[in-house]
């Protein structure tokens, strides 16, 4: 048990735990935001686990999650467009906080790995994670009018 796995445990317990609670209770808007933030917290947890258990293969998991998580949120934003239109869920504070957590974790792991192709891969994962998080949040709060049309 080293610091990386401890940080992963805290991210999982606090971040993903809060999203599990948020997706199970409350109005539809909160549930959709919770599903979005689940990806934004689970991806840094996977990066921390990869560093803590010294397995670079876990970074591939973080990469796939950073790609597919926002895709899932966009699916929900498109197919639930009418139900969300009356009360567009916008939790920009939480979104930026999750993006900040992702950025800090990516930077920390990059610094530890040192300049190499592995660091470039981590940077790509970080860009996909934060970019996907922001795009999915904007789609949920109704920022893409093309999504609402048939």
């Amino acid at each position: 048990m080293n610091g990386w796995i401890l940080a992963a445990t805290v991210t999982l317990g606090g971040g993903v735990g809060a999203t599990v609670w948020g997706v199970a209770t409350g109005p539809l808007g909160r549930r959709v935001v919770a599903q979005n933030l689940c990806t934004a917290f689970a991806c840094p947890a996977l990066l921390l686990l990869s560093q803590g258990s010294d397995r670079p293969s876990y970074v591939d998991l973080a990469l796939v999650l950073a790609l597919l998580g926002p895709v899932g949120t966009l699916v929900f934003a498109r197919l639930l467009a009418e139900e969300l239109a009356e009360d567009p869920p916008s939790a920009w504070g939480l979104t930026y906080a999750a993006a900040a957590v992702g950025a800090v974790v990516v930077l920390a792991v990059c610094v530890t790995v040192g300049p190499s192709r592995a660091m470039a891969k981590l940077l790509v994962v970080g860009v996909l994670l934060i970019g996907g998080n922001l795009v999915a949040s904007r789609a949920l709060s109704g920022g893409f009018p093309e999504l609402r049309r048939g």
Partner: protein, 86 residues
């Protein structure tokens, strides 16, 4: 001490799976199932099975909710059409 992350992952899976059963409306269930998919993938990673976690991510995070929501969409649209004809 190294088991703490496994315990946390197992607890998360238990809570989300229970929530997936307890939520009745299919649309809300699709949301909980998406979160359950991600949490299961994290559990598989923590138990040192990253290939299983990769397959789980590919299926559970985007495909399963999409299938469920499309089915709900079709049923709703058919119900609306029949309601208009009657």
């Amino acid at each position: 001490m190294a088991d703490a992350v496994i315990v946390v992952a197992l607890l998360l899976v238990a809570v989300s799976a229970t929530a997936a059963v307890a939520v009745r409306d299919p649309v809300r269930q699709a949301l909980v199932l998406a979160v359950l998919g991600v949490v299961l993938a994290v559990l598989f990673t923590v138990l040192q099975a990253p290939d299983v976690a990769l397959s789980q991510l590919a299926v559970g995070s985007a495909l399963t909710p999409l299938l469920l929501l499309l089915a709900v969409h079709k049923v709703k649209r058919r119900g609306r059409k029949e309601g208009r004809h009657r």
